[in-house]
Amino acid sequence: MTIYSAIKGYGHYLPERVLDNHYFEKIVDTNDEWIRSRTGIVTRHFTAEGETASTMAVEAAKKALANANMSADDIDLILVGTVTGDMRYPSTATLVHKALGISKPIPSMDLQAACAGFVYATSIADSFIKAGVYKNVLVVGVENLSKFTDMQDRNTCVLFGDGAGAVVVSASEEPGILGFHLAADGNFSHLIEFPADGSKTPTTEETVKQRLHYTTMEGQETYKQAVKDMTSAAQIVLGKLDMTVDDVTWLVPHQANIRIIKSVATRLKIAIDKVYTNVDRIGNTSAASIPIALSELNGDNKIKKGDIIVLSALGSGLTWGALVFKQI
């Protein structure tokens, strides 16, 4: 019998602290109208003292497990998409393993594909399951970007938020995850960077003074690539499945910027009311954005059995990809 995979449960966590655009008017030269018109962002959530990537990941994971009617011990692989883990190592996935109180030493790893991290991780979960290696995979996308954002840089500080989303991907007799397309092009690696704290530029007093421990981004070129590649990835995977946008119930794109989302929707010729957006409330939460969006849709009973959902994302690398699944 052919083994398929399907998404069985959804959960997400957003920190309680909410910042509106006026907060940033006090710290950099910007204003609410500028932020709204350029990005569509109105509010975002930031972690409080003591909250980290792993604490948020665990909250989202618990909800996803409950939603799937599973216990943590049912899981046999943990994949965490993040670029803002608790520590350089050990992986945030191992911290999640510990915090969930899982008794078995199941494999747990982080996956670094920036904003495409959840699409990458879910594709890997699907592949492991189809290969018969694992049966129940916990996939988390989590980011604590507020701690890695330069609050003196008006171009980036308004963009990012914190949060976590999780799904349980399980073996299924019916096909849930139908296909994916993953891609990367390192020729665009300079577009979104975290310059210091790696083996290229280790942390020194100087790197701290030069403010190299924050995300840098070339906004215009990233925008262009995001529109192109998020569109083409979705088209490629739909094409492989012999489907069109008419078959799609929801497009859940990475929530970076409302204008990227609208431009992708226009190019895909998909009705805007089929496109889920929460970037206005949550900002860009990188790898967490798609699973948070899915969990919100599920929580609002907007995902029904048989629905076809397309995910598409692009992030630092550049990495990008799209995945299509059917709700089982």
Binding site: S37, R38, E218, G219, Q220, E221, Y223, K224, V227, K228, R259, S263
Partner: protein, 78 residues
């Protein structure tokens, strides 16, 4: 393609992507200063040019395309 034909296409795309009125667009019209385009509007417009004229406009060249004339000249010279 004739220069005039390219000009008309560029105007068409400016109307579509930059919400400009056709009548107000002239050779010297500056996208940012005259049409109130922001940096992302310009990127959208450049992507539309790439699609229409089947060409890649590298990042460095985008900065040189400030007016309708710049866009038309760029396409003519490619």
């Amino acid at each position: 393609m004739e220069r005039n034909e390219i000009f008309n296409k560029v105007v068409e795309l400016a109307v579509d992507k930059l919400s400009a009125e056709k009548a107000e667009i002239k050779e010297e019209t500056n996208f940012i200063e005259d049409l109130n385009a922001d940096s992302l509007d310009v990127v959208d417009f450049v992507m539309a040019l790439e699609g229409e004229f089947d060409m890649e406009i590298p990042e460095d060249d985008v900065e040189k395309i400030k007016t309708v004339k710049d866009a038309v000249d760029y396409i003519v010279n490619k």
